[in-house]
């Protein structure tokens, strides 16, 4: 299940955050999205580590924890789409499709 979708500006400022949890706990998802920017920064600033995925806008799994996964998508204008999912057995290709769809709709 996708718990949160966020669009983050090129200065790492939140442009849009939508959480899909029933409880009034959107703030924790803000935190997750904000902290995942560390990983985006790390990948962007360390092209060596990114390896072959450097040229790809889809950053893949940013932030695997035991309980949720964070995926990232970076546009040419350095706008990031962040996806938090609680589904631990999600396929990369599916998330890539979702990310690309979001980026086109935005």
């Amino acid at each position: 299940m996708i718990a949160c979708v966020a669009v983050v500006g090129h200065q790492n400022n939140p442009l849009y955050i939508q959480s899909f949890t029933e409880a009034d706990d959107a703030l924790k998802l803000h935190h997750i999205v904000h902290c995942s920017l560390d990983v985006v920064d790390e990948r962007v600033n360390n092209p060596k580590k990114s390896g072959p995925t450097l040229n790809e806008t889809f950053l893949g799994l940013l932030y695997p924890t035991e309980n949720y996964k964070v995926y990232g998508y970076l546009t040419n204008t350095k706008v990031k789409f962040i996806l938090v999912t609680t589904d631990l057995d999600v396929r990369d290709a599916d998330v890539r499709n979702v990310s690309v769809t979001i980026s086109f709709k935005c």
């Binding site: 409880a23 009034d24 706990d25 998802l29 902290c35 920017l37 990983v39 035991e66 609680t86």
Partner: protein, 1204 residues
Amino acid sequence: MANYLAQFQSIKSTCDRIVIAVEDVSDLWPTIQSGFEEQLPFKRACLNNKTRNPVFVEKLPAEFILTTDARLRSRFPQEQLLFWFREPYATVVLVTCEDLDEFKTILKPRLKLITQNDEREWFIVFVSKAHPNNDQANKMAKKVFAKLEVDFNSKKRERCCKFDIHGPEPNFWEDLESKVMESIRNTLDRRVQFFEDEIRKLSELRFMPVWNFCNFFILKESLAFMFEMAHLHEDALREYDELELCYLETVNMNGKHKEFGGVERGDDEAALLNPGNKALTEIVQDDSFREFEFRQYLFACQSKLLFKLNRPFEVASRGYPFIISFSKALAQHEDILPFCMREVWVITACLALIDATSSQYNDGLAAPDIEKEFYRLLGDLYSLCRIKFMRLAYLIGHGTDIERSPVNSASLSMLPWPKPPVWPLVPADASAELILQATPRVKHFGIHRKPLPLEPSVLLREANRRRASLSAGNMFEIFDGSGPDVSLRMSPSNKVQAVSMSRTNSSPGFESSIDRPMRLAEIFVASEHALRQTISNPNLLKSLSSVEEFEQKYLELTKGAANNYHCSWWKRHGVVLDGEIAAVCFKHGNYDQAAKSYEKVCALYSGEGWQDLLAEVLPNLAECQKILNDEAGYLLSCVRLLSLDKGLFSTKERQAFQSEVISLAYGEMKDPVPLDVSSLITFSGNPGPPLELCDGDPGTLSVTVWSGFPDDITVDTLSLTLMATYNADEGAKALNTSTATVLKPGRNTITVDLPPQKPGSYVLGALTGHIGRLRFRSHSFSKVGPADSDDFMSYEKPTRPILKVFNPRPLVDLAAAISSPLLINEAQWVGIIVQPIDYSLKGAILQIDTGPGLTIEESHFVEMESHIKLSNLENCHNIQKDCSLDINKDFERLHLHDGRIQLPDWASNLTSILWIPIRAINNSLARGSSSVTPQRQSIVDGMRTIALKLQFGVILHSQVNASLTIYDAWLDLQDGFVHTRQGDGRPTSGFFPLVISSSSKAGILFSICLGKTTPEAEVEAVRRDSLLNIQYGISGKRTIGAHPPVTAEATGAEDAREGLIFRSALVLQRPVLDPTLAIGFLALPSDGLRVGQLVSMKWRVERLKDFEENEASQRNDEVLYEVNANADNWMIAGRKRGYVSLPTKQGSRIVISILCVPLLAGYVRPPQLGLPGVEEANISCNPPGPHLICVLPPTLSSSFCIAA
């Protein structure tokens, strides 16, 4: 083979280095042993790795063992093969011999016997006992050694070396080491090949029923162990990696139910770095190993090798995913594991990994990016450990001590509860323990927030659900009945656990019973009891034993995570955890430290615009600052809180922020505090073009100020600084408002007086002001108009100039409204168009100086009206000739004081026209002129004489732009002239009124005749000029340049309008035509004139009257003549000038003849005869001479013509 597992383990534990066998043929070893062993470990080892590439090993440990040693004896062949790795890798044969015969007969056969075994790598060390001074013995030794070399060396390989016991040769040890190394290398290669072959064979059987993982493991680990002994750690690690892969495949592939392990006492403590934690024989299960222990064992072996390779970073990088994946495996088997085994294992695993890797890691050895990654991993490990630790603490009732922050909520609320098959029960001997009572801490400013959840679901429900399999009770009974639980009862779907968690056993009915649902307090107590059973690590037990211990451990883990994240790329993670540390510091009264940490968190969130998160932390920072009496910081925090999105706080809360600011500003502060309110009070110039002023002009500047305060706020003073954009030297200039200003929430317009500024362009610099003792300052500019984008960067647009001060330039254009002549001596409107040139004329004074000949009618008012544009005027003019300019918006009458007029305000920015009454003063009379100068006001056209009657025509040429109406005209004649018929000098009265349109001509004819002249004595009294009088009126308007005089217009009297008199003086001359002589031109010859041909010109002069006596003259009977001819056309023969005789009587005649030669052909003017002595008026030309005559070309001369 699996039966050999125990033996394999024991061999492995006893054997840790390469063995070199010593075949001591001649009992020499005790003598030379120490010298040999001093060479260990080998320093220049070069071995081949698995891919047969040479690898240099710096220090290769080895051991010399005599072949007679018990360790190398009595092994079964099969046993030898299986554990081949422990067999000697080289055999050194020690021999000595001092006699050639002995060598041949005894030693050589024996050596042959020893070296015939091809399996062994051997070489011979010939020990020479000969003393260096004993030449004989030395020679013999050399001979024997030479013989030895001949017999045992081959072409490919030297197998002999000589050791002098009394002093080895300098290169002996190197030689020995190279030979040992060659042997070891060869042996190693052979054995690796053997094990690889065996492993391959076994791998091929992997999917067969006979497959046995233990056998595969023994072979694989033997190979790995052999590599490890040879210090080829990289190869050993690869073997373990392959072993792990193979194990994971087999463990998942086989559908058979297998025991997982992990249920023994002490298993809760991770052994992922301790390969010897349990003997492999203990964990063997059928043909494989228990997953719980074996995976940890493999990881421990890998870690050991990685540490030997000095790669602690890799241990951490492999360790974190291992812990995550192992934790998942534990979750799958949670039903068989002790309560919270998974959490406990993860905690101990993380701590073990952190301890081991950080102690092995030396700063600065790795590349910077690897180092940063290492610290990130440590941060992750600390963080994971922290989460699990918090989970355990929550389960035993320390949830109230955990900050409900976003980071903790994100970690814990998405982490599922432990899933034991049955939730533990409260033990029978449980007694009332400590009471933990917590109520949600009310935030500063009275901010009320719904606390963030730390629970994935309601623990009460989860725990009882797991007991429900034993007894299905009424779910509603499970709640304690306290406030929060009631709310849960009302909305069971609410996932948020109530904050209030009382942990007390004092409530009635605490007796443990499996039939009754557990209360929350019971769950805590039961969990703690169960955890004590699970946890074997005393430190962890201690950390969970009390709130204080929990907090200490919690702080340690949080700090560990934060510090490591700070050293990594993940700064945000670090800073956020600093906030958690701050919360603990705050709780314990360490406000200073708390404030510092909170500041970092706030800076992070505000820097990137995460306002929701900032709104969570900023009140905490403010509270710290208030407690610390940090007035400036506290005020700034209040301002920042007010600057946040309005939706983040209620109006009441925002009002509380403002009231804090006000109360501090007006009361509590000791010293004035500067405060940056850039985020709260913003300002900008008004939309539109900037205010434009000229050098030296004062002005008024209007500025929009946005207030973010929820209520009105009174600002004692307010000042704005102006910055010159292109002049850095100029500095900022402050503009102050004079009085206190009340800023409403939202938009305010502030007006400030602007003193004269230097030329240049100015932008707003900063807004400063006072509220009580608070000095505030704002640097930011608000966006004016609709926001063009939500882009963060748009706030950084370059500022727009608000004021432009220009160099001196024309500010106003003054022009004549219309150019037209004035009526002399009449007050007339003169229009001046006053046109401001992009400049306000407010307060301007117009000074008028008429110059000579003109005066302003000061008694009369001046009129001012707005003026339409010239183009419009022209259009209008084209359509209707007399269209006036007065399509006016405004009209005003002004009074002139000392030639000055103050312009009215309405005319400040408009083009206006100013009508001034002007009188042109001229006391002289107008004079008429001849027809050649028709521009004059009146013309005497001419005169002619018909008998004695004179007709005198006057042409009136109107030069005014309006039509004139002539009402009357009369001529006052000078002396010597009289009107005919004794009239009054007026033309026929029926002509009048005569209307003359503008710029047209009209004629008036007067009939006059000569009269008697006045005697000389009365000459002075009579007039010498005639006077033309015209009574007229004007019907025009001032806008077209002609209009009645101001006074007449003002009074509107018809008489006055018609009463205008125009006077013009004329001088009339008496007629003087009185011929006395007549000149007649006589006819020319009829055959015409030719060039070069003489012709006689003749004139007849006749006296018409008798010569009058009174005209005294000496030559009365002679007439002076003169012939005038153009010298180019005529050549004159004879006298051109002279006297001819002419009698004085009437009728006397004379002919004057002159010979002339024409010089040019064509029509030429003939010579003229003049009489210079006679006035022209007295000469009559009768008949007159021709104007032009025809002169033919000369006749052609034929004398030069030649007949054809």
